[in-house]
Amino acid sequence: MRYCASIITALLLALPVSAQQPVREQGQSLLFLPEGDFTRAEAGCRVRSEDEAFLPAEGRGLVQGELLLTARHRLDSLSRVEGSAGYERGVKRSVCWNTSSDWALLAPYVTLDTLGGDLQKEQYTFRARYARRIGKAFATGAVSYRALHEYRDFDPRPRNVTADLEILAGGGLQAGRSVLSLEAGYRKYHQNGDISFMDPRGNNTAVFHWLGLGSHYARLSPSLGIRFRGEGFSAALRLEPLAGTGWTGRLSYTWLDIVRHAKGQNEAPMSSLLHQDLTLSGGYKWQHASVSADLSYRLRQGTEHVLDGVGSYLSLAELTLYREPSFEAALSGTVESGAWTWAPSARFVRRTAEGLYPARDFSLSYAELLFATAYSAHPEGPWAFDAGLSLGGHFTLAGGYHIPASLLDDRFQTYYDTLYGRFSDHAASGTLRGAVSRRVAGDLWLRLAAEAGYTHYFTGHRRTDALLTLGIIF
């Protein structure tokens, strides 16, 4: 029973690979996590199925196997280290209007085709973090690395290899019953993408270097090799209670600029997308409850390069022609009562995208309500049980889009009509989770967890999600 507390912690924290917290979300709080060391190994299978793709760029389904190894170790009474390694292997079903990886990060400056198909996916993730207390000060460090390989084995055949590295370092000071910390980070992003056609009859579809909202880089369409290079910085000021009760706060800013290069044209810079995120959070934690309010403003700015016509592909000018500001406000809370946890939350999101020339725009405002409850029973003995239920609603409040007809042929018109129809749809969703754990020998636990989700869109479309994991914890 020496590790009982840590095992219970590990059971509670046994998140699937894809649900891991971003490394930047955790600083010296590693020191404040429940006591104990543990090692956890999990294998799982994730399935997503949609009758019509909500986001064609991400496909209308996913079948994926996942492996995750996590270990947390207290080096001494003042320092702690945690590391994890994950592997995902799967197939995205019917990916269309996108042949680049990391669509959410790179859009709208992605490469796309209108035919699409299943896309093979293989991803490795490695994370490590360290925290140390030095008197009333704290020092932290974290590193995460992600390698993603996506490809298709029939025409059109994209092959994208992505590397994403982030390093964080910070320090904090104890002030009363709280810790005030400052953390700075550096991020390096790289994606190498190629598209090939093996059919002897030639290309079966056109490939576009997308500029967003119906516009594309027409001149370089025959060029099928693209490289994304990105570099970014982040800073976060955080207030955390030293004990379980107190004020929480966070002010963070991230800056990431990703340039798209045409490999076959002297690595000419075609466009760049600058991401800036500003987030302000504030809340209060009681021993068995918490409330939090979050405000965030995100600005993505797209710059297109004017390449010369003589074939050397020098950039003659840069024009910032795309803006995507978005605002988000959220309120959330948790209440723990015995074995039960209740967590209601509400979120309002306003997103717009606008192209300066030709003038075009796309906007959407929506509200989301979520109510989650969880039950954990960890009695003394060989068994432990966890269960959870989440119910949510998504309500579109306003929106619309305007793209000049000169930019839209039949394919693009259908695409944007469908996309807006899906984005502006109301939806209701529910997710049921359950896990059972059994001590099989000494401090070795076996854990089986399952999760099933269903989303019903008011226009009749539906989405189902399922996750099954089996793991050991010791």
Binding site: Y217, L299, T303, V306
Partner: protein
């Protein structure tokens, strides 16, 4: 609360200051002047923009602009800064009352494309008289 507001204001100012290419002018106002080999004055030059071979086209994005009527041999256009291909056939009315068909092929290939990346530019087009 006041401190938080000050921090928030400062952060917003920081974000605002990081707007890329602030105050940029994305357009180029170009004055296009067409001249005949003979040097005769052109009173008006009309181009049928519906014809596929007539274009004022952004080389990189493919965006095309209608070419307005040339008055006294000149016209003005406001285009997105870029590299442009210009090609057209048109009907020129001359100062002596005659008319002739003319062609511009000087900037019709990417190697000869014209760079319009400043706020203002002047473009001289040497026309060819068609028989």
């Amino acid at each position: 609360m006041r401190r938080i507001l000050i921090i928030l204001t400062g952060a917003l100012a920081l974000l605002t200051s990081c707007v890329k290419n602030p105050g940029q002018d994305i357009y180029c106002e170009v004055t296009v002047e067409a001249v005949l080999p003979s040097g005769q004055d052109i009173v008006a030059l009309k181009i049928d923009n519906a014809q596929p071979g007539n274009y004022f086209r952004d080389l990189n994005t493919g965006q095309e602009y209608d070419i307005p009527i040339f008055v006294d041999g000149k016209c003005r256009m406001k285009v997105l800064k870029g590299v442009y291909l210009v090609s057209f056939d048109g009907l020129a009315a001359l100062a002596d009352g005659s008319a002739c068909r003319v062609r511009s092929a000087e900037y019709s290939t990417s190697l000869n494309a014209v760079n319009l990346v400043d706020d203002r530019a002047e473009l001289l087009i040497h026309l060819i008289v068609l028989q």
